[in-house]
């Protein structure tokens, strides 16, 4: 059974349906990408998984457990953390304090300290800036901090919402290579991206969302080669 199973989910914002019978599965150790244009329901999917929103129909299973109606704090404890859309750092807290907040659901001090070192190894830039307050970091550094913070929960699944948004091309390269590295260290990654090309390169498998419906799915390579995807998302 898959680590994360998203089964026939309908989700609404008021009367507007954002997801229609969306089913997604993420196997342990994979990088799975969700691509699609604005308003396709990518972020809604992540919000539903993390418990910030609850679906009207369908179930969300994690690690063999039904988390459809579990509250967000519990879901983090179970092992799903995220770098949310727009990063949502704590702007007036220092880099180190932001990282500590990521580990809020944990109590093992030595584990937290070693994870902090791991984050600083992945993002040396954050080590340089550790006492600076998060609101004063550059966009790239903020994205790094958001990812580092999500890692501090020592998640089984890390969800990244638009990590490349608003970053310079060179930084996007860096971010995606770090995503690969995080994954190779054993963390399953669920990636939401508008930058379809980059996302499909990194992903083992991917889903294409169109107005709340899964339009296509397949391996990253297959989708990169697919004519429809190329036309709609890769601008070829």
């Amino acid at each position: 059974m898959a680590l994360l199973e998203f089964e026939g989910v309908d989700a609404f914002y008021g009367r507007i349906q954002a997801l229609r019978k969306v089913s997604i599965s993420v196997e342990k150790g994979e990088v799975v990408a969700l691509i699609g244009s604005n308003g396709a329901g990518k972020t809604t999917t992540l919000r539903t998984i993390s418990g910030l929103m609850h679906p009207t129909n369908g179930t969300v299973m994690f690690d063999g457990r039904d988390i459809t109606h579990t509250r967000p704090s519990r879901i983090v404890e179970l092992g799903i953390s995220q770098s949310p859309e727009g990063r949502r750092l704590f702007p007036r807290m220092s880099v180190v304090d932001n990282l500590f907040m990521g580990a809020y659901s944990r109590n093992d001090r030595p584990g937290i300290a070693s994870d902090m070192e791991r984050v600083f190894t992945l993002f040396p830039r954050l080590l340089e800036r550790r006492t600076q307050i998060a609101g004063t970091l550059s966009g790239g550094e903020q994205q790094m901090l958001a990812m580092g913070r999500a890692l501090m929960a020592r998640p089984k699944v890390m969800m990244l919402d638009e990590p490349s948004l608003g970053l310079a091309p060179i930084l996007i390269e860096t971010i995606f290579s770090i995503v690969r590295e995080i994954n190779s260290q054993g963390t399953t990654v669920l990636l939401v991206e508008q930058n379809a090309h980059k996302a499909l390169e990194v992903a083992n498998r991917a889903y294409v969302l169109e107005t709340g419906v899964i339009a296509q799915q397949g391996t990253g390579r297959d989708l990169l080669a697919s004519e429809e995807v190329q036309k709609a998302y890769l601008g070829m």
């Binding site: 704090s73 953390s81 750092l89 809020y104 006492t131 004063t136 929960a153």
Partner: protein
């Protein structure tokens, strides 16, 4: 990663040193405050030969306690509370009702005289409970909306004490509130010094003793109250400092910064916010019991909106979120309101006659005399002082580390943004 050489681990040390340095400023302020607090009664009694200023300082201490408590709600958790005086009132009435003859005339037909030391903690819990009660309906509200609801609560509570006059005496207030008492052996050196304090050894019965024992009653001795309020403040500071550094303290900070992100980090926002209200309120319960005892009289009009606002001004002006700042802010505002402004008319009058403008002091037609005019302008001056202080130090007198750093980095960040743009 855990197998990295131990040497690498030092990389985390510099931020800690940095923090220590910032705390050093706090240590210095605490040092100065403690020295002043110890010298103050001796100096003022020596200089003025009366304990009036000491009793004023004890009263100011109430506001320091209130400011410390409100700082938990507003400064730490970022929940704007405009009705904080309500909890103060609840604390004061809790003590007043159960430590006076008031309930004799009420439908209960029985006067309770419970000891102060017990009621202090009862008041604390009652206020905390009402804090949670207020917190519950406001959980979904933020910012302005939250402020309005708390404002309403702050208006309702004194009104209730006013209208339930069967129980609370309403406008007639509750007087004759019991004085705290101590077994004689705790009296300590402050009570005997050259007959300044009123050390009264008489027989009374402490609540835990079955037989009569000699004990010491505060009986409005300003020095005893001064010492008591100092102890309460020290206890409050230690508690709040530890809270601030605790897991809960960080959760408050996170909620203040970004509630959604805080929830995504695994913080239970509901209980965290309720705890902020309850813990913040508990300090004013403390302060209320103290206030009721030291004043000996509790009436609804002591807890109106202006009290909430004054405490809020103390917190904001002192430096929201920073405990030392809030204490200093409370002392300064109390001084301005209760000493500087009331004495201003006579000061101005004597100043005018000293520099040869004595004619200004005489009443003449519409001119009420310089003293009278200053009297009229008192609150204009108060407003001016507030506006000036906020213009000169918008971050507060002693801002929290984070706010200070934020302002410092704002300039740097702008520069960096420009550099980044030109490179892109």
């Amino acid at each position: 990663m855990s197998t990295r050489p131990a040497g690498k681990r030092r990389s985390l040390l510099p931020p800690i040193r940095f923090r220590e340095r910032m705390r050093d400023r706090d240590t210095a302020i605490y040092g100065v405050l403690i020295i002043i607090a110890l010298i103050f009664p001796l100096a003022t009694i020596f200089a003025t030969d009366s304990t009036f200023l000491v009793s004023q300082a004890g009263h100011a201490g109430t506001f320091v306690l209130l400011a410390i408590g409100l700082n938990v709600v507003v400064g730490f958790a970022g929940l704007l509370d405009l009705g904080y005086a309500a909890f103060f009132a609840i604390g004061a009435y809790t003590y007043a009702l159960f430590a006076s003859a008031q309930l004799q005339a009420s439908p209960a037909h029985h006067a309770y005289h419970l000891p102060f030391w017990l009621m202090m903690f009862v008041a604390l819990f009652v206020a905390a409970a009402f804090g949670a009660v207020l917190g519950f309906p406001t959980l979904r509200l933020r910012g302005d909306y939250l402020a309005i609801v708390t404002l309403g609560f702050g208006e309702i509570v004194p009104q209730l004490f006013f209208n339930f006059d069967q129980w609370t005496g309403g406008i007639n207030a509750i007087g004759g509130i019991d004085q705290p008492s101590l077994p004689a052996w705790i009296t300590g050196p402050w009570a005997g010094a050259n007959g300044i304090a009123i050390l009264q050894n008489f027989t009374c019965k402490p609540f835990w003793a079955s037989s009569a024992a000699p004990c010491y009653s505060f009986s409005f001795d300003p020095i005893a109250y001064y010492v008591l309020v100092l102890i309460l403040i020290v206890a409050a500071v230690i508690l709040v400092t530890n809270l601030h550094r605790s897991r809960l303290g960080r959760a408050w900070m996170a909620i203040r910064e970004d509630e959604v992100a805080a929830a995504a980090m695994g913080i239970n926002t509901v209980t965290t916010k309720l705890l902020a209200f309850a813990i913040g309120a508990s300090f004013s319960g403390f302060a209320g019991a103290y206030y009721g005892a030291s004043f000996g009289l509790v009436s609804p009009d002591q807890f109106y909106f202006v009290v909430s606002i004054t405490v809020l001004v103390m917190v904001v002006l002192g430096g929201m979120g920073n405990i030392t700042g809030v204490i200093v802010g409370a002392i300064i505002i109390y001084f301005v309101l209760n000493s500087l402004l009331p004495s201003l008319p006579s000061t101005v009058e004597s100043f005018a006659s000293n520099i040869g403008l004595g004619f200004l002091n005489d009443r003449n037609g519409d001119w009420p005399g310089l003293a009278g005019e200053t009297q009229r302008l008192q609150f204009l001056l108060y407003g001016l002082i507030l506006v000036l202080m906020m213009l000169l130090r918008p971050q507060g007198i002693f801002p929290s580390r984070v706010r200070e750093q934020e302002l410092k980095h704002a300039a740097v960040q702008e520069e960096e943004a420009v550099v980044e743009m030109t490179h892109a």
